[in-house]
């Protein structure tokens, strides 16, 4: 079971991070991906695949003080 931002997500196992983000229309310039607690660098988006039981965190800048 893949968890994305704390919620279950199906049909993404085997996708690369790049494919996964494209599917979600995520803003590439404003997104950091953590896979099981480790940052996936942008240069690795094309080669890093989503595995079974992965925990992904997608984090962006928002307004804040």
């Amino acid at each position: 079971m893949v968890m994305v931002n704390g919620e279950q997500e199906s049909g993404v196992i085997g996708q690369t991070i790049a494919e996964f983000l494209k599917q979600r229309n995520a803003p590439i310039d404003n997104i950091v991906v953590e896979q099981n607690g480790t940052i996936v660098h942008r240069s690795e988006f094309d080669t890093t695949k989503i595995g079974e039981n992965d925990k992904l965190e997608l984090i962006s800048f928002v307004g804040g003080g």
Binding site: A26, P27, N30, V32, I59, S60, F61, V62, G63, G64
Partner: protein
């Protein structure tokens, strides 16, 4: 001009503006005019889980503005360090406004956890700007840990109460050899001017802007106040007479009827 020589230095970077703008709690559409009117060069941002479809704040930030990510939401050193690393991945810069706030009611920073995180992040090359409850001893320890600035709170976050901790901030200004940047609680330009007049190196404000009736106009008011306060500080304000009075006009030569 005085301003060119009077740069604010943070981690080896020079800034001519001494007003740091927050970007929370108001429309991204107003960021550009707020930055322009405030003549701000640094804007803070937070990091949160990405929700697809939400607007991308980076599209609203003018070229050349330094992004100062914060670690808000962190309740201990470990969480703050993780957030800082994520921030660096995203911003590509080493600036981090370190906030460790376990307390949900008053949003008081945890100085001890802040100190621990400062040490780790400074060793990793971050330009650490720790938010703290003004305490001289902790401020000395933050210096030793490698902080680039010290950011004491004027009053609890978001209150617009002003310089409730004025005396404690003055001690930091007098004793700490790093830029002292007053961070939270500044709600009025007059309070910002007072902090600058005391010798604060810069002032940061967010809620005062977000809760103002006219955000761009308030941004301009803060710019003027921060500049006025800085000039007053450099001009060395005159002494205060606690009792009695001292005439400003000559006491002799007064014309009399008789």
């Amino acid at each position: 001009m005085a301003n060119e020589k009077d740069a604010l230095m943070i981690g080896g970077h020079a800034f001519t503006s001494r007003f740091i703008l927050g970007s929370g709690k108001y429309s991204y559409d107003l960021i550009d005019s707020a930055i322009n009117n405030a003549k701000a060069q640094i804007i803070t941002m937070a990091l949160r889980r990405n929700k697809t479809g939400k607007e991308n704040i980076l599209n609203y930030i003018p070229e050349g503005i330094t992004i100062l990510p914060n670690t808000s939401g962190s309740t201990n050193a470990e969480e703050a360090i993780r957030t800082a690393r994520i921030a660096r991945e995203l911003s590509g810069s080493d600036f981090i406004k370190l906030e460790v706030v376990p307390d949900k009611k008053y949003l008081m920073p945890d100085n001890y956890e802040t100190l621990k995180a400062t040490e780790v992040l400074a060793n990793e090359g971050f330009i650490v700007m720790p938010y703290m409850l003004p305490d001289l001893n902790v401020a000395h320890q933050l210096v030793d840990a490698g902080a680039a600035t010290v950011m004491p709170l004027g009053a609890p976050i978001g209150t617009n109460k002003g310089l409730s901790t004025k005396d404690l901030i003055q001690i930091l200004i007098d004793e700490i050899d790093l830029p002292i940047i007053v961070d939270a609680g500044i709600g009025r330009p007059s309070q910002a001017a007072e902090a600058m007049e005391m010798g604060a190196a810069a002032v940061m404000a967010n809620t005062s802007m977000a809760t103002a009736g006219n955000i761009p106009l308030m941004a301009e008011a803060f710019k003027l106040a921060v500049e006025a306060g800085r000039k007053a500080y450099l001009a060395k304000p005159g002494r205060v007479i606690e009792h009695g009075a001292v005439a400003s006009s000559p006491l002799t030569g007064v014309s009399a009827v008789k």
